[in-house]
Assembly symmetry: C2
Homo-oligomer: 378 residues x 2
Amino acid sequence: MSDSAAQQNGNYRLWMQRALNLALRGKGYVSPNPMVGCVIVSKDGNIIGEGYHERYGKAHAEVNAVQSVENRELLKNATVVVTLEPCSHTGKTPPCADMLAELPIARVVIAMKDPHPSVNGKGIKKLKAADIEVITGVLQKEAEKLNETWLHALELGRPFVTLKIAQTADGYIAAPNGDSKWISCEESRKLVHRWRSEDDAVMVGRNTALHDNPSLTVRLVEGRQPKRVVIDGPFELPRHLNLLSDQYEEKTIVITHNREKWEKESDPMLKMLQSNYFRGEVIHAEKSGGHVRLKDALRKLHDNGIHSLLVEGGRDLSSALVRAGLVDRLRLFISPKLLGGGTKSISGLNVQRMEDIVPFRDFKWEQSGSDMLLTANL
Amino acid sequence: MSDSAAQQNGNYRLWMQRALNLALRGKGYVSPNPMVGCVIVSKDGNIIGEGYHERYGKAHAEVNAVQSVENRELLKNATVVVTLEPCSHTGKTPPCADMLAELPIARVVIAMKDPHPSVNGKGIKKLKAADIEVITGVLQKEAEKLNETWLHALELGRPFVTLKIAQTADGYIAAPNGDSKWISCEESRKLVHRWRSEDDAVMVGRNTALHDNPSLTVRLVEGRQPKRVVIDGPFELPRHLNLLSDQYEEKTIVITHNREKWEKESDPMLKMLQSNYFRGEVIHAEKSGGHVRLKDALRKLHDNGIHSLLVEGGRDLSSALVRAGLVDRLRLFISPKLLGGGTKSISGLNVQRMEDIVPFRDFKWEQSGSDMLLTANL
C-alpha cells in the first residue's frame, strides 16, 4: 500500500467510526431495521454532511446525510461513508442506492454488505453500474457488532434473546412466600428499564404475569415502551392484569396454543362482539408437551417484526429457554443477600455431571450498585 | 495541639504503621496468640530496632525488637512503639512489660490495650510505675482490624468462623451425580489454600468427608498446614479416609457426640490396645437433635487453642452454621457456569419473606480468575 493509499485508508476508518457513532443514536427506535449512520466527505476531505436512521419508517441514514449538505456543489466527487450497504428495494422509503447513483459523487465506502435477501449486494451493483467506486469492509467487525441482534435475527429467523434474572447470592429469585420485591438494587432495576427501552419486546410467562402482575413498562429511565409478550398457553389469564388492561394494552402480545380462542380474537367482527375485548395482539403457536412450543413462539414473534427480546420470566420460562438453547445472552444479577429457600433461578437443565456443563462462549462480571452482574453469551 | 506535638503525633502514626506491617509477617504462625509488631526509635528520631512475634511459643515482638538494637546506648530516652499492650504475665515467655520497665527508655506508644483477662491494663500500669510515659490509641482501629479474629475469639469464646462456598452462577455446589471437581477456577482454589494456611483449622462435615474424601492440605501455595476438623457425630467414618489416615493424621480433630467412643479414644491405654489406632485428637461435644451441637463444638475448639476456623462444609454444615448465627464471614465463590440442578449451596434458613432477610454487615465483590468472590461479614 502506498503512503497516500494508507493515509486514505486511515481516513476511511476515521469517517466510518463517526458514521458508526451516528448510527448508535437510533438504538431502540429503528428495529426491525438495523441501525445505520452516514457521513459525506467533500473531495478535499471535509465532512459536509451527516445523518442516521432515526426511527423505523422514517428516512434512511443516506437520505438524512445528503439532505444535511448545505452547499450541494460540494457533492461533486465527494465520498459517501455508510455503515451498511445502501438498500436497493422500495420498502417504507425509496431505494437509497438509486438516490446515491444519481449524485455526482466519486465513491461510496461501506462497512458491511446488507445480508437481507432483498439487498445482499444489489445495492453495491447499482452503485458500480453508475460508475461510482465502491469500497467495502471498512470497520466491518465493528459494524457487525453494532447490529449484532439484527444480524442474528436475520440468520436464525427468531429474535435475539436476552434472559434477565435477578437472584440472591445463593441463587433464589423469590422468597418462600413468593415475594421477589426487590431482590436487586435500584441501579440494577434501572439498567433493566434501560434494556427494556432498547429491545423490541419484553416477555414473561404465565406464572409471572399471574403472581407478580408486572407492567413491564419503562419507568425508571426515559425511553420508548417496547411491546410486551406474555405466554399464556390456554389463553386464560384474567383481564384485570396490568399487561392486559393498562394504558399499554395495545402493546401487549399474547401467545397461545389455544387455536379456538385465537381464531375468535383474530376475527375483528367476533372480537368487537365481546363487551370488553382485548386491544392487544394474539399470536398462535404450536403446542408441545402441554405448553406453547417456544421455538415456534419465537419464530412467530420474528415474523411480527420482533428481532430482539428481553425475557424477564420466572424459573420455568427461564429454564425452558436455556434448556432449548434459545437464550443468546444471559444477564444475571446477583444480590448480596441470602434467602436459603424459595424459588430457584434455574432448574431442570438435565446436566448430570460437571463435564456436561455447557461453557459460556464468553462472559464478563460488572458491579451494578450493590449487585454483581454476570453477562454471558451462550 | 502545638505544631511540634502534631508533628510528634504524625511520627507515632508513621512508626506504628511500620510496626503493624511487621506484625503481619507473623500471620498464620502465631495463633492462638495475636500478631504483634514493635519498632524502637532513638531520641533523635531514628529507627534503631524492629521485631515481631514470629511464631507461637517463641519470643514476643518487644523482645525481638530490643535484641535487634545494635548500639544499646541509643536505648536511652528512646521510644518503643508496639501494636499491642506489652504482656504482664509469665506465659510461654517472661512478661514484656517487666523487661521494658528495666530499660532506660522514655516512652512506650501502644496501638491498643490487650483485652486478655491476664493483661487488660496491667502491662501499662507496670510501665507507668517505672516512670515511663505511655501513649495509647495510636492507629488503634488498624491494630484491632489486624487481630480481628483473635479479638473476636476472645470476646465470644469461639473461633472466628469463615465459611467458604464455591458454587455455580445458579447456586449449586455439586452436580446431580455429586461431583464438585471443580466448580471454581484454579486461582480461586489457590486462594482457598492460602486461607487454609492462615487459619488455625479447616473444618468439614461428615458427608463431605465421606463423599469427597478431601485431604484439606495446603498444596497449591506454600504455607503451614492447619489442623483439620471433621464433625462426625456417631464417630463412624471409615479409617481409610484421607483425613484419618494420611501424613497429617495427627493434625486431625474429630468432633463426636458419642461419649462412649470418645472415652475409649481419650484413654491412652485403651487406645493403644487397638491395632490401628487413630493418631489425631477426639473432642466430645453435646448432642442436639441427633447432631453435634455446633455451638458447643466451636467452644471446645476454642478451648483447644483454635481461634480461627475455615469451614469448607457441604450444604448441611454450611446451612446449619448460618442458621445458628455462627458464621462471621462468608467467602462465596461464584463461577460463570450453569448446572440447573444438583446440591444447593445453602438451604433451610427459615426465611419466609423478603423483609426477613438478615442483611450483611458489609460486603465486597472481587474477581478471582474467572470467578466472582463475594466476601461478606455476617
